[in-house]
Symmetry: C2
């Protein structure tokens, strides 16, 4: 249960795009420079975000990336699901059944219940957070985020 590189870098790139004031958007070279990532890698990340309809691109000279919708409509849960997948997805038990053909815990699987609870908890948290919440300065966003934890 670790945060993947794609989640980290993808989210950073998305924040750069979101905070871009230019109507033409921000280009791959600019994102690459700002985050210290190779331009090819930035392209790979933006591709995921674009296919998920989180950002939009204009190719050609003077091209770049812009948010596909307003920051307050972009839910962080959706962004992370795109970048890093779901923690406990439908195929999980099928992929983790050892040598046997069926999950040996299929009847009495308390582990599965645990994952479900963790998943629900994280999902519930991330659903409350929008891209807009992350756009303020660290202090402010810390404040907003902490208020979610302190409930």
């Amino acid at each position: 249960m670790k945060i993947s590189s794609q989640e980290e870098y993808g989210l950073r790139v998305l924040l750069r795009i979101a905070s871009c004031k230019d109507a033409e958007g921000i280009s791959i070279p600019q994102l690459s420079e700002a985050e210290g990532l190779s331009s090819h890698y930035v392209a790979k990340l933006t591709r995921s975000l674009r296919l998920a309809d989180i950002i939009k691109s204009t190719p050609g000279s003077k091209g770049g990336y812009l948010l596909a919708r307003s920051a307050s409509d972009i839910i962080i849960r959706d962004v992370l699901a795109e970048l890093g997948g779901v923690m406990f997805d439908k195929g999980f038990c099928g992929r983790h059944n050892g040598i046997a053909n069926l999950c040996t815990n299929s009847v009495n699987c308390s582990v599965r219940s645990l994952w479900r609870v963790v998943q629900v908890t994280v999902d519930r948290l991330l659903s409350k957070i929008t891209l807009e919440d992350l756009l303020s300065s660290e202090k402010d966003s810390l404040h907003v985020l902490n208020s979610l934890v302190e409930v």
Copy 2:
């Protein structure tokens, strides 16, 4: 942010050990058979758990594994930290700074705040759950676990 194989299999093996009634404990071959994992792989998982003082072993013939302490004293957060590491650990930013030497977000890093909130939330949940909570049948443990979510 996915559940790793070690977390899944390690927890299953731990549950088998915990539910073993035999005073001599349960052996690697038995665990291997029960979970459909190779005995070598089981050995690797039990090694982590043993080094973390979660289980104890008796080598030699008639050997096997037993819990190192009572199930109600084994916190699931500690078990998962051993098996899968911490979600957002101290070295995370250092490892994810791109080409630049320093995290380019060091001053104004709302992403870091986000990870912290997620980490705290999951930690808080997993700290409330003990191995004992997972030992009951699926229905029962679901009930116990769900009560934690429904707060």
